[in-house]
Subunit: 271 residues, 2 copies
């Protein structure tokens, strides 16, 4: 470990002002499609919320509605405590840039290390080949890498070959993308899980629907502090209809624990 | 059809005040466990939100955080327009009773009848036997009916026998409950789907964990106006851990369309 903060922590850093608002600086390296990545934004506002109520640093549930695309540069996160008492506090957050309201969010914050240790999960981890058999960004054809958004260089993702056909124009048609995931310079924690749930390409890529899929709403549930090591992500859609699709992401840690679940509603890419 | 409003419409009725707040009267018939049913509350605040922006009557996505249990009697729904423009408006709502803040919610509202008619759903409808082979509340043992909460008499639910073991002390252990569902005196619409997604007993009943499971957060996506007729519901949990569980509900209409999807995070019942 070094004393230099990891890139993710620097990029999601917030500075509290006297009036309880937080100043953020959205990084150009996190751009994808028409704006700054939604998971990165969620982690940034999530960091501000984690500093709002003493003893309740962790998101347990968080729901963000994306009103307008965010752009690199200064942003303000405003937080409000709606209720504090018992094991979770209910909080609200808003992200704005200048006069533009970008995101509004509600959240339940608590202390994930204080949860009971009962686990009766019936879901199964992603069916992923060993890491060394999966393909990463570095394995992609140069013409793909040249066109890839900046976001793709912020983390290390290793895709199941069966999930990676979209990168070479042969999507599987299942609407399912799975990968190994890690940040290059730090271990996972609850905040980085907020990034992970919206880090992968849209599951619609695997249906041959390429293009940016703007998120309308995303809710994540954080169920445990992740163990150190690689995460495994499963991202899937089952209901593409009416110009929108739902997308479920599961995040599994190295201890085979389902540590986060998210669902978002997004607009299908326009051809 | 008759001119008398259906029970659900009367019970979720709201009256706009001059200042843009709405008065509601929560019905004692909708009580379950330690308070008024969360789906009924969602439909009530959803009705107020549907009257807030002209031309945008329908919930497309709605996320509610339940701060405290609601009780029968007067309630106030306060709504705010956060952004209006394009095909959806982003709205906020709060429900209070006296000085107590009960629910806070965010939502995207639009017009479900204006969606494109592309459907590429890969999910399958619940695997339910024909209605006449399913069991309803009227088939339950008298000792069960005598203890059932008032809510159970507000709608008609017919359970797959495989999903109904919990009613006689023999849960399947799958964490899955499926049923046919209808309101006795009206056809389904987007508002009644908000009720449907939280109408069933907790999926934990099917794991032998009886008792009230208070919802922390519930998000529903409404994907189409439902066709007339019975709905089919599938309610399942896959991640019971740390004193909480997630619960996914799917609502399918008589035209085999996946019209609503919800996920909630709830506390596991205490033994």
């Amino acid at each position: 470990m070094t004393d230099v903060p990891a890139e993710f922590d620097r990029a999601t850093g917030v500075t509290a002002s006297a009036d309880g608002t937080y100043a953020a600086d959205l990084g150009a390296g996190w751009v994808v499609g028409g704006g700054v990545n939604g998971g990165y934004l969620l982690a940034t506002l999530g960091r501000a919320l984690g500093q709002t109520v003493p003893g309740k640093p962790d998101p347990v549930a968080i729901s963000a509605y994306y009103l307008a695309a965010s752009t690199p540069g200064p942003a303000t996160v405003t937080t409000r405590v709606l209720r504090d008492g018992g094991s979770v506090a209910t909080l609200a957050a808003d992200v704005s840039q200048g006069d533009s309201h970008r995101i509004t969010a509600l959240a339940a914050y608590g202390d994930l290390s204080g949860l009971t240790d009962d686990v009766a999960t019936t879901a199964s981890p992603p069916d992923l080949p060993p890491l060394e058999q999966c393909v990463g960004f570095g394995d992609a054809p140069p013409e793909f890498r040249d066109q890839a958004p900046p976001l793709m260089s912020r983390f290390d993702m290793r895709f199941d070959v069966a999930s990676a056909g979209w990168a070479v124009g042969t999507p599987s048609g299942r609407g399912l993308i799975q990968c190994w995931f890690r940040l290059p310079d730090r271990e996972p924690d609850p905040l980085s899980l907020l990034l992970a749930v919206d880090a992968m390409p849209p599951a619609t890529f695997d249906l041959g629907m390429y293009g940016w899929a703007p998120t309308l709403e995303l809710t994540a549930h954080l169920r445990a502090r992740p163990a150190p090591g690689w995460l495994r992500l499963r991202h899937a859609t089952r209901n593409v209809a009416g110009g929108m699709f739902e997308e479920d992401c599961e995040v599994w840690d190295s201890a085979d624990r389902l540590v986060a679940q998210s669902r978002q509603l997004a607009r299908t890419p326009r051809p």
